[in-house]
Structure formats: C-alpha cells, structure tokens
C-alpha cells in the first residue's frame, strides 16, 4: 500500500490528528489569503488609537490606530514560514547526525554525541540572542539560528533508533551483498526511522514557532516584520498589560498557542499512526 494512502486511511480514525490538521490548515489558509481576509492594510492607520474591539475593528486598534485584526491575519505568515523552514533545517541536521553517529559508533559517535549534549545543555534561547546580536536578526538568520540550535533532540532520537535497527538481520544481508555503509544507511535504515522523524519534525515546528515568537517578543530579530510575536512585543513595550488594553496582547497569544498545539497534535497522531504498538486497528 502507498504510505500516503495508508496514512490518510489511519488518520480518519485519529481524532487528535484531524484536529491538528484542522488547526494547521486553517492558519495556512489565513496566511495565504490574508490580503482578502483583512479589512484594512495592516500598516495603515485605519482609525483612532486604542479602539475597543467592535464590528469595525474586530480586534480593536493599537497605539497608532492600525487595525489589529488585519495585523494578526498578516502576522500568521512569519510564524508558519519560520516554523516549517527552521524545523526542516533542524530535522535534516538531526537526522544526519543521528544516522552517522548511530551507524558508525565509536569515536565519531562519541564526538557527535558530546556536541549534541553541549547543545542540549546550553539554554538555546540565550545562545540564540547572542548569535543574532552578532550576525543580525534577519528572517533568514533567525531561521538558521533556530534550526541550527534545535537539532539535538532529533539527533538523539534518531541515533537510538539506528542503534537498534542496524542490528537487524536485513542489514547484515545487505552488507553481505556488498551494500556500502551509505547505501545501508539511506536505503535500509532511513525508511525505518522516518515515522519517528515525522513525529519529531512536527514537534520541531511547534518548538520553532514558539521560539521565534519569544525571540521577537524580547526584541531580537526584525521588529518591522509583522508576526504574532511582534504584535506582542509592541503590546508589551507600550505597557498595555498594565493599562487594561487586553485586546492587544491576547489574540496573538492565543494564536501562537493554538498553532503550536496544532503541531503537537499532529506529532502525537504521527506517533500513534506509525507506531504499530499504539495503533488502533
């Protein structure tokens, strides 16, 4: 059976997976059609400042009088882009490190795992702040920084799976038929770790979305790029929390949590679907 069809077939029985996909696809839809959904230009002044939510301004307005609903709609784009691409970077790095480390063992494994330990122990967010201060917080840099610092979890998980899969007889059969190490790693071991990698990738996206929001919130990165974290950043520096302007901070906060939860649900559904032990028949 085609793996995709297999997944879709199983997905129908996984409520958590359906909810996850529902949330994610809704946000993807919003991101793509933001110009159509938004009633105003998010950067234009469309009314008086600090207007309460109303039919005119669904989420009210900010200190400049810009429409917060429109800003939130446009603000969906960057979390999604950063989340997926940074997760891609992290997963590819983690997968490669895990594969090589687990397969070859010995000294390369020791070296790679000590590096992994280092990145696991160092508080990533602090390192990210330092690095982006050094190299500048453009969108690309933020993606590379988040991706480049969040691969250790994937590497650990992949390595532990490789350690068990490489002992399977089919690996020895391939070896005895002159299969090279690279061949065995990518043809035999990789397909068997992919399910776990998918689950990890979805978690990495959730992690990256959260991290990006956190970075922008504390002012790291380009604060002119519209994103949920950015809205929260301005809500904070304008002191809206203490002045009772609740409609500024709350919507982007809820959106971040929602999208993150969507990806966590997706990850859980990958795990239950691809792991035969937890799969419901």
């Amino acid at each position: 059976m085609n793996p995709l069809m297999n997944y879709l077939g199983q997905l129908r029985k996984s409520k958590i997976g359906l909810v996850g996909w529902g949330i994610i696809l809704t946000f993807v839809f919003i991101a793509i059609f933001a110009p159509l959904i938004s009633p105003y230009n998010p950067n234009a002044i469309s009314g008086a400042y600090y207007q309460h939510p109303s039919m005119l301004h669904l989420f009210g307005t900010n200190q400049e009088g810009q429409d917060l609903f429109s800003q939130n709609m446009y603000g969906t784009r960057i979390p999604l882009i950063v989340g997926t691409t940074a997760a891609l970077v992290a997963v590819v790095l983690g997968l490669l490190v895990g594969l090589f480390s687990g397969y070859f063992g010995g000294v390369p494994d020791e070296i790679l795992m000590r590096i992994t330990d280092f990145f696991l122990v160092v508080p990533a967010i602090v390192l990210m702040i330092v690095i982006s201060a050094l190299i500048g917080g453009t969108l690309t840099n933020v993606i590379l920084i988040i991706g480049g610092l969040s691969w250790p979890m994937t590497a650990r998980v992949v390595r532990s799976m490789v350690l068990s899969i490489k002992e399977w007889p089919f690996v020895e059969v391939a070896k005895s038929s002159n299969g090279s190490s690279l061949y065995i790693m990518f043809k035999h071991i990789l397909p068997n770790v992919m399910p776990v990698v998918f689950a990890n990738a979805a978690l990495s996206v959730a992690n990256a979305i959260f991290t990006q929001a956190a970075l922008v919130f504390i002012g790291v990165g380009d604060v002119t790029d519209l994103s949920w974290g950015n809205i929260m950043h301005f809500a904070y520096i304008n002191g809206t929390i203490t002045t009772g302007i609740w409609w500024y901070m709350i919507p982007p906060g809820i959106f971040i949590v929602l999208l993150t939860v969507g990806f966590i649900f997706l990850s859980t559904s990958f795990e239950t679907i691809f792991n035969p032990r937890t799969r419901r028949i």
Partner: protein, 314 residues
C-alpha cells in the same frame, strides 16, 4: 570450497568501571572444518554452541580472533576490499527469522533485486519472476509489489530464499532456515535447497540445532559443542552410528513414534562459554564421565574412515 582451520572467536567480557575482568566469551574455541564443493554440510549444536558465529565468520560479517578461513584456497580475511567484493558475489546467506531478515519498508521486488543491483548483475523482469516462482511464490506478479508485512511467515522465508538464489551463488550459508516456518512446509524448503544443490552444484553450510533437519538433507554433519566440534562424519555415520555421547543424546532427543525410554540422557544446560569446563568440555553433562575426562581434553581423532570424534571412550 571452504577450509577453516582452528577458528577462534573470543568476545571480551565488558569491563565495568571498578573491575577489569579480562575474561572472554569463547564463542568459537578452535573450529576446523572443510567443506567440499557441492556438498551440503550441517553444523549442528545447541543454542550458545557458536554455530551462528561460525556462519557469520564465513560470510565475513565478523572477523575471527584467530585462525584462518579459506574459500577456494583464498584467505577470506586477508582479501583486499575489491577482492572481498567479488568474493561476496558468490556467497549468500539465509537467516532464521523471516520477519527481521526482510526490510519491512521495502517491497518484495526491491528485496530480491538488491543483491543483483549491488553486485552489478544484469537482470530483467523475466529473471526475477523465474526466481520468485522457483521458490514457490506463484504467480510472481502477485507477490513482487507487496510489502513483507502483507505476507505470511512461510512466504517471507520463501522471499528470503529467492533473494539468496537470485545471484546464483556458489555457496549458501543457511542459518536455521526452517526453524521458524511451519513444520508442514519445512520439507519443502529443505528439498528446495537439495534440488539447487544437485542442479547447480551449490555448496550449502546448513546451521541448525535440529539433527533431524540436518540428517534430512546433509551429506556431512559436524556436531558443535561449546565452540568446538566434538564429532564429524557423513550423514550415516552420525545418524546410524553416533560415537560421541553428546551426539547420541541429541539423536535420542528426536521423538520417534512407538519408542519409549531414551537411552542417553544429558543433564542440565550448555555451560557458560566464559567458564569452559576443564578437560573434556562435555564432562559435566556426560553420562559416561571418567576421571580422565575431568583433566585431559580429548583429541579430535579419526576413529573410522571419515568419522572423527573427540572423546576418551574411543
């Protein structure tokens, strides 16, 4: 075809932080074996006797601690990488467990064509179909595009055998090939091996714990106990006229209809290969144990023509 002399494989016992044991698990403790071309030779022994280790050494999947393995006169472990590659074109292995010897993510077609692709042997659809059908998976097109998970255990083992046959090897190492398939189709598999052996002059090293399986198709049988061969003869010598008490016990453990008491009983289990008993390694379990057995290790001698045994009784 295969000539192994005094092959040893010791695994160091893992040292812990506070103690250095310096001890070894002696999986193979000096095995010499020679198998002629076109012969089905069985290596029989209990779990822990080292028989699978020997198979892995012949496949060059692990190297021996000491000793020499020659294939057609060439030392397997001094081969250059390139020569090892062409050597491996001639050898295939069949494992016991058809569930783990096929990659669950690869279609049957991919598993079977793998040795052909990796060894740069040309093939076409017809050849694949012929190989698959020769092991009893008919019609081939019903099986080729399925995943191992969609096949039964027996069908999977047929696939594993088809994969081994695909490159027309000269030597097959079959490690317990039938111990996990239903008794009803065991004979099928063994006949398949025998048939290929006759038709293509295939040499087979059959590794099994089951003397009955071995006697069904083998020309020669070696009995392995704790990493050492205790008796070797042609099939009739082992089955009809076993000399070593261990072989006798193995034979008596095959249930035969209408027979009552077993003649030779052995006690206990195979000892830990870290602490191999002194003298004859079988003496703690031997019903005919003598004082000499506890001190002197018996030599492996030819008692009758072509019938070797290491036992002080003879």
């Amino acid at each position: 075809m295969i000539e192994a002399s005094d092959v040893k494989k010791y695994y160091p016992v893992k040292n812990t932080l506070f103690s250095r044991t310096g001890r070894y698990v002696k999986a193979l403790d000096g095995v010499s074996l020679s198998i002629d071309k076109g012969v089905i030779h069985s290596l029989v022994g209990e779990t822990g006797s080292g028989k699978s280790t020997f198979g892995r050494i012949v496949m060059a999947l692990t190297s021996p601690t000491a000793g020499i393995v020659k294939i057609d006169g060439v030392d397997l472990f001094s081969l250059k990488k390139k020569d090892l590659k062409s050597m491996r074109k001639r050898i295939q292995i069949i494992f016991q467990d058809p569930y783990s010897s096929l990659n669950p993510k690869l279609k049957i077609r991919a598993s079977i064509t793998e040795p052909l692709k990796l060894n740069h042997i040309e093939y076409d659809e017809k050849k694949i179909a012929a190989v698959v059908e020769s092991v009893g998976l008919k019609p081939a097109e019903d099986y080729l595009d399925r995943f191992p998970g969609e096949l039964s255990g027996g069908q999977r083992q047929r696939t594993a055998i088809a994969r081994a046959f695909a490159i027309s090897p000269e030597l097959i190492v079959a490690d317990e090939p039938v111990s996990m398939v239903d008794v009803s189709i065991r004979a099928d598999f063994l006949n398949l091996l025998k048939e290929t052996n006759r038709k293509e002059n295939l040499t087979v090293l059959l590794i099994t714990h089951d003397l009955f399986v071995a006697s069904y198709i083998s020309d020669r049988i070696s009995v392995l106990y704790l990493g050492k061969i205790v008796e070797e003869s042609d099939k009739n010598g082992i089955v009809g006229h076993p000399l070593h008490p261990y072989t006798q016990a193995l034979l008596d453990s095959i249930p035969v209809l209408g027979e009552g008491e077993r003649e030779v009983n052995i006690k206990g289990e195979i000892p830990n290969p870290i602490d191999i008993p002194p003298g004859c390694r079988f003496h703690p379990r031997c019903p005919f144990v003598m004082d000499k057995c506890r001190q002197v290790e018996p030599e492996f001698r030819e008692i009758e023509t072509g019938h070797f045994v290491s036992c002080h009784l003879y």
